[in-house]
């Protein structure tokens, strides 16, 4: 009660859902499935839109510039696995892009043949590597995936109330 007899309005900070709340996991899943959506679900609409725009632009630029969607190669397992993880950071858009580019959501390097019908993923991979834009495209694709992986941690921190 205030001195003048009126009531005092107590302003409480919004309650964070907590690290193990279903809403937290839903937001993290949403952020992976569709970059930007996790922030949107946690009420940070402008941030969600901006991050979504940046990540999707990067991904689109990567595909438009013949970026190579990494394939795990047993001759260089560590390096190529990390590349695949970077690509997968973008979420289900990655297997969809692979289906468009390689004909199926393939993640392993397959043999390269001269005139196969249909061409193997390894053949398509090497053909794209010959494009003069492929290096740019690959950098954009990795960056899009890695940025979205960082965003998952950001969503987690927001849900825990660690981010103002």
């Amino acid at each position: 009660m205030a001195e003048d007899g009126g009531t005092i309005e107590l302003k409480q900070p919004p309650i964070a859902p907590g690290p193990h709340a279903p809403r937290t996991w839903l937001a993290i899943l949403a952020a992976w499935v569709f970059p930007g959506l996790g922030h949107f679900l946690l009420g940070r609409k402008h941030q969600g839109l901006l991050f979504g725009l940046i990540v999707w632009s990067c991904f689109g630029l990567g595909l438009a510039h013949d970026g190579r969607l990494a394939l795990r190669d047993s001759r260089q397992p560590l390096l190529t696995t990390m590349q695949v993880v970077a690509n997968l950071g973008i979420g289900p858009a990655d297997p969809i892009a692979r289906t468009v580019v390689y004909g199926s959501p393939v993640y392993r390097m397959t043999g390269v043949t001269r005139a196969p019908d249909p061409p193997t993923a390894g053949t398509v991979f090497r053909e794209r590597a010959r494009s003069r834009h492929a290096q740019y495209g690959t950098a954009y694709l990795w960056t899009a995936g890695l940025m979205n992986l960082l965003l998952l941690f950001h969503v987690w921190d927001i849900a825990r109330g660690k981010v103002p």
Binding site: Q47, Y136, L150
Partner: protein, 57 residues
């Protein structure tokens, strides 16, 4: 787009906007960090390119 320089500008813009928004919370700090990162990336790349002039094959 085949220009390496334009790709560098575009890439730096996207990355600096991303980290500016991720690591700072008020608009002014975000802009300041984004600009700083952009200048470090673009300026650093140009400096490196200029330094490579002295190590020609």
């Amino acid at each position: 787009m085949g220009s390496h320089f334009l790709h560098m500008l575009l890439f730096s813009t996207l990355v600096s906007a991303f980290f500016g928004s991720l690591l700072r919370h008020d608009r002014q700090s975000q802009l300041r960090l984004g600009l700083k990162l952009w200048m470090v990336m673009v300026g650093g790349a140009l400096l490196m390119a200029y330094a490579m002039y002295f190590f020609q094959r």
